[in-house]
């Protein structure tokens, strides 16, 4: 696995392989940090946004300083998170179909339901990308990385009002797309 900043640069240039490596790298870090966080304080108090920030700090320390822009990293991390969660949702549903009548554990039912919802949302986001890619980016930042409005605006290098407007518009569009999908 290559240097994170190089990988990120290549990913931004459209290299799918580099992108997968970034996702894997972030996943590894997320799990590492999450274990620590959950182990310390229990799931109730744990903060996913903090996780992303922690992840960034770790990665930025690993790479040469200055190369990686923090805000931009957050936007990338958000996309990576989307990918991660989608992969996980698919694995989960595949396991559910393949495994037959397993006796299920605590969060399983809810997690499976969310997995189905997420796949549906992801499809809607793909459609939305055809309308306006920036809306998708805003949703990624807000929903998948848990960034605030201000953080989202900074990460996407746009005025706060624009990010707010885009998020509202994205919600409307997604609602429309999902309704259409249901009725068709």
């Amino acid at each position: 696995m290559g240097d994170i900043t190089v990988l990120l640069q290549r990913a931004r240039d459209g290299d799918q392989g580099a992108w997968d490596d970034v996702v894997a790298l972030i996943y590894h870090d997320l799990k590492h940090i999450a274990r620590r966080v959950i182990g310390r304080s229990g799931s109730a108090t744990f903060n996913p946004t903090g996780l992303v920030h922690d992840c960034y700090l770790r990665l930025s320390k690993a790479g040469p300083t200055g190369v990686l822009n923090r805000d931009h990293f957050l936007a990338l991390a958000a996309r990576a998170m989307r990918q991660l969660m989608l992969n996980h949702a698919r694995d989960r549903l595949a396991a559910k179909r393949g495994g037959g009548a397993e006796h299920t554990e605590g969060n399983e039912i809810e997690a499976n339901a969310q997995a189905e919802d997420l796949i549906e949302l992801d499809q809607a986001l793909r459609q939305l990308a055809g309308v306006d890619e920036r809306m998708v980016q805003v949703v990624e930042c807000r929903v998948f990385a848990g960034l605030s409005e201000a953080e989202t605006a900074a990460a996407l290098e746009m005025p706060l009002r624009s990010s707010q407007r885009l998020y509202a518009a994205a919600r409307e569009q997604l609602a429309q797309i999902l309704t259409d999908a249901k009725s068709s």
């Binding site: 182990g39 992969n87 989960r92 396991a95 969060n107 809810e110 997690a111």
Partner: protein, 789 residues
């Protein structure tokens, strides 16, 4: 479906949700699994049947040719760990047989993987079962009791489960509860603790990575109960403890159950029940509609129960948080109810007022009753700190509602008075007064004067107290002479007047009030019982012992009817009756009464506690009168030692113990020892009281008497004249203690051959004591002998 997908856009929905959690836990993606046929010990894997937070579960078969057996095998990947420890604990677990515990059959370590072969249970999760079988609330609680039984059984064998959650509690095909994974979390070891248990179900101490004990299992049982009670079975995690989410339960019953639950899931382990068995017992009590320990008789009872387990100051933290819980629960339940019910604006206003009244009543009847040393003698003084906090937060919370704030401040002040923190109480009353200034609320003014008067009475500022109580009475007059607050004020005024003068007038005042109180409030009303108690005490003080005994018997009858035989009011009354019977020379009856009171007080307050030692002291005095001197002295020495241990040297009760012991020693003519004890008592009292306090004077008189009998006449005379001087200065002219001081002085003077002075002192003694005793009383007879010379 689509609207659900859209919900993922809500902040925190996705990242706070189960999917993200499971991603982080890395369960699904990391599952490579064991292939069918893989051998672990004598077992071979058949297929995977589930995956949990701790590992993967397989169906496996034993096929060593001897017999066939199907088991569930749980595999946990493990690096490091002490395998010898693992083996030993595994053996202990394997020996544990209980109908509700899935047995651990075997276990081992193969290629860095720990595996556990367990009895194969085919069943459904307890929460799913409760939902699908549509179990009633009671049935759900009963199912949890079965779980408690199993956990208790294990705890008695020093084993913890450590990972209780619905997924580990199944109902098998025969409808029996079965606990899975017993103790496996412990076997997996601490290195992987964060994976070993399920974070959402972990107790605070588990999360903090601290040592866990049985209380941790209790905590998880509490969470389990909460899940079982929820109307919605689909929620995956333990969720919030919120009675609003429960199945329909009548409000009062729900509050009790909530109290039980909050106790079991208290953040600090020491605030929980003493054991899972105690938790189970309380649930049983709830099922049987008996008072529950966590709630019954109000929170006061719960606090007292807790106090019993932590007899002294160590309970500060435990009680503090329980009291907070009590207040929080009460407020939240009540406010939620009010919010739900209040529809119209006008109705809401009325409701708000009612709410405040209820809150205040809660503090008064429960917290206050608890803090009142008359009902609960071994009070933890640090509760005072908590009240101070409440007092402080009140200022900000209710800034715009002075009437409510004032009422609560008055209540807090009463509690502080009950705790003996008079300065804090004074501050609370002062703060309440400020808030009352701009309010034309006669009722609150009345309450302020009434309870402030009571405070002053406790501070021995009797004259000021009478002032306040008279004002209270004047306001109460407008409410009519049958109003409860009028009667409260009148009773306290009578008591205050007695404190001031020791005059028998209080007897007739109280006697006249009693029928009015009974007519207005009922025979067994708290105020009626309070008044009877005070009347009995006053009658005893003025040496009308026979009457006192009659009143005391009546008091006991009513107290038992109103509060029950086991209540501290009843028990303390019983003890006081024993004292009276002893004075009347009915020693056998006194002994019986004292023994029964003593046993009861030990039950309520624990032993050694202030109350139980007080009872023990009365018992020893009776023994002395019965002529069993050695037994009496032994018991008195025991009491003394326990009191010093409990209270420290400088305490009133220690001084009393010393005095009593000295009395017994004097009867055995062991005057030297008696004198030492009395001097020690004197030193304690000198630290506690002003120079002419009645107890100091009595102590000096007794010391003079002992020294006289010891033949050290000069010393005796010094003590006796000191006592007389202080009595003349500090005591009202008709106080019997003043007469007794003169009597002892007269005795000493006679012994030193100062006949005339002795006669004159005896005259002074008689002048006082003849008001209290009949001429035939032994003391008067003795005095008359001195007068004759």
């Amino acid at each position: 479906m689509s609207s659900r997908a859209l919900q993922l856009l809500e902040p925190g929905r996705l990242l706070g949700g189960a999917l993200f959690q499971s991603l982080l836990a890395g369960q699904a993606s990391e599952d490579d699994g064991l292939a069918p046929g893989t051998r672990l010990g004598v077992f071979s894997i058949v297929r995977k049947i589930g995956a949990g937070g701790m590992g993967v579960v397989y169906l496996a078969e034993r096929d060593d040719g001897q017999y066939q057996q199907q088991v569930a095998i749980k595999c946990v990947s493990q690096s490091g760990g002490d395998s010898s420890l693992f083996r030993r604990e595994r053996q202990i677990l394997a020996q544990m047989r209980h109908p509700h515990i899935a047995r651990l059959i075997d276990g081992g370590e193969t290629a860095g993987t720990l595996w556990f072969a367990m009895e194969l249970i085919e069943g459904v999760r307890i929460d799913e079962h409760a939902h699908s079988a549509a179990l009633s609330v009671a049935a759900r609680v009963r199912r949890l009791l079965e779980v408690c039984d199993a956990i208790s059984f294990a705890h008695e064998r020093l084993l913890l489960h450590r990972d209780l959650k619905p997924a580990n509690v199944l109902i098998d095909s025969d409808g029996r509860v079965k606990l899975l994974d017993f103790g496996i979390a412990a076997l997996v070891g601490d290195a992987e603790a964060s994976r070993a248990y399920s974070p959402a179900w972990a107790s605070p101490e588990q999360r903090a990575g601290e040592d866990v004990g049985p209380a941790s299992d209790q905590y998880q049982l509490g969470l389990l109960l909460n899940v079982l009670l929820r109307a919605d079975s689909r929620s995956a995690g333990p969720g919030e403890i919120d009675p609003q989410l429960w199945l329909a339960i009548p409000a009062a019953r729900r509050a009790e159950l909530m109290a039980i639950l909050l106790r079991a899931t208290a953040a600090v382990a020491s605030d929980r029940y003493s054991s899972v068995a105690a938790f189970r017992d309380d649930l049983l009590a709830w099922l049987a509609h008996r008072p529950v320990a966590a709630f019954a008789g109000g929170w006061a009872y719960a606090l007292r129960t807790l106090l019993r387990r932590y007899p002294f100051a160590s309970s500060a933290a435990a009680m503090g948080s329980l009291l907070l819980l009590a207040i929080v629960v009460f407020f939240s339940l009540r406010l939620k109810d009010e919010r739900d019910r209040a529809q119209a604006e006008a109705e809401r206003a009325t409701r708000a007022a009612e709410t405040a009244t209820s809150i205040s009543r809660f503090l008064q009847d429960d917290v206050f009753a608890f803090a009142d040393p008359n009902t609960s003698q071994d009070v933890d003084f640090k509760v005072g700190a908590l009240l101070k906090r409440a007092e402080a937060s009140l200022g900000t919370r209710l800034a715009d509602r002075p009437a409510i704030a004032a009422e609560l401040l008055i209540t807090i002040g009463r509690s502080q008075r009950g705790l003996g923190d008079f300065d804090a109480a004074q501050r609370s009353f002062a703060a309440a007064k400020v808030r009352l200034e701009n309010l034309a609320d006669a009722n609150l003014q009345l309450q302020w004067h009434l309870w402030h008067g009571e405070l002053l009475l406790a501070r021995s500022q009797t004259a000021d107290a009478i002032d306040d109580l008279q004002q209270a009475l004047a306001i109460a007059q407008t409410l009519g002479e049958t109003h409860p607050l009028y009667l409260e004020a009148a009773v306290r005024l009578a008591v205050a007047r007695f404190d001031q003068t020791q005059g028998a007038a209080a007897v007739s005042e109280l006697s006249a009030l009693l029928p009015k109180i009974e007519a207005a409030l009922g025979q067994d009303a708290p105020l009626t019982i309070f008044a009877l108690n005070r009347l009995a005490i006053i009658l005893n003080s003025v040496e009308r012992v026979t009457e006192a005994e009659t009143v005391r018997s009546e008091h006991l009858l009513r107290a038992e009817r109103a509060y029950g035989a086991e209540h501290s009011t009843t028990l303390t009354g019983r003890l006081n009756r024993a004292v009276l019977l002893r004075k009347l020379g009915r020693l056998d009856e006194a002994a019986t009464e004292a023994a029964s009171a003593s046993a009861g007080l030990r039950k309520v307050f624990g032993h050694p506690s202030i109350a139980s030692l007080h009872a023990q002291n009365v018992e020893s005095n009776i023994l002395r009168d019965l002529g069993q001197l050695d037994a009496a002295i032994a018991l008195q020495e025991q009491t003394l030692a326990a009191r010093i241990e409990l209270l420290g040297e400088v305490h009133d009760d220690v001084a009393f113990s010393l005095t009593n012991l000295a009395g017994s020693l004097a009867v055995q003519s062991r005057y030297g020892e008696a004198s030492v004890h009395l001097q020690r008592a004197l030193a304690i009292r000198a630290q506690l009281y002003p120079a002419d306090h009645v107890d100091l004077i009595t102590n000096l008189s007794t010391l003079a008497d002992v020294e006289r009998l010891h033949g050290r006449l000069a010393i005796a005379e010094a003590y006796a004249s000191d006592a007389v001087a202080r009595a003349t200065r500090g005591l009202a002219a008709d106080r019997p203690e003043r007469g007794n001081a003169w009597y002892r002085y007269a005795q000493v003077l006679q012994a030193t051959g100062k006949a005339e002075a002795a006669k004159s002192a005896a005259e002074s003694a008689r002048a006082v004591l003849i008001r209290h005793y009949p001429p035939s009383h032994p003391r008067i007879v003795a005095i008359d002998a001195l007068r004759r010379g």
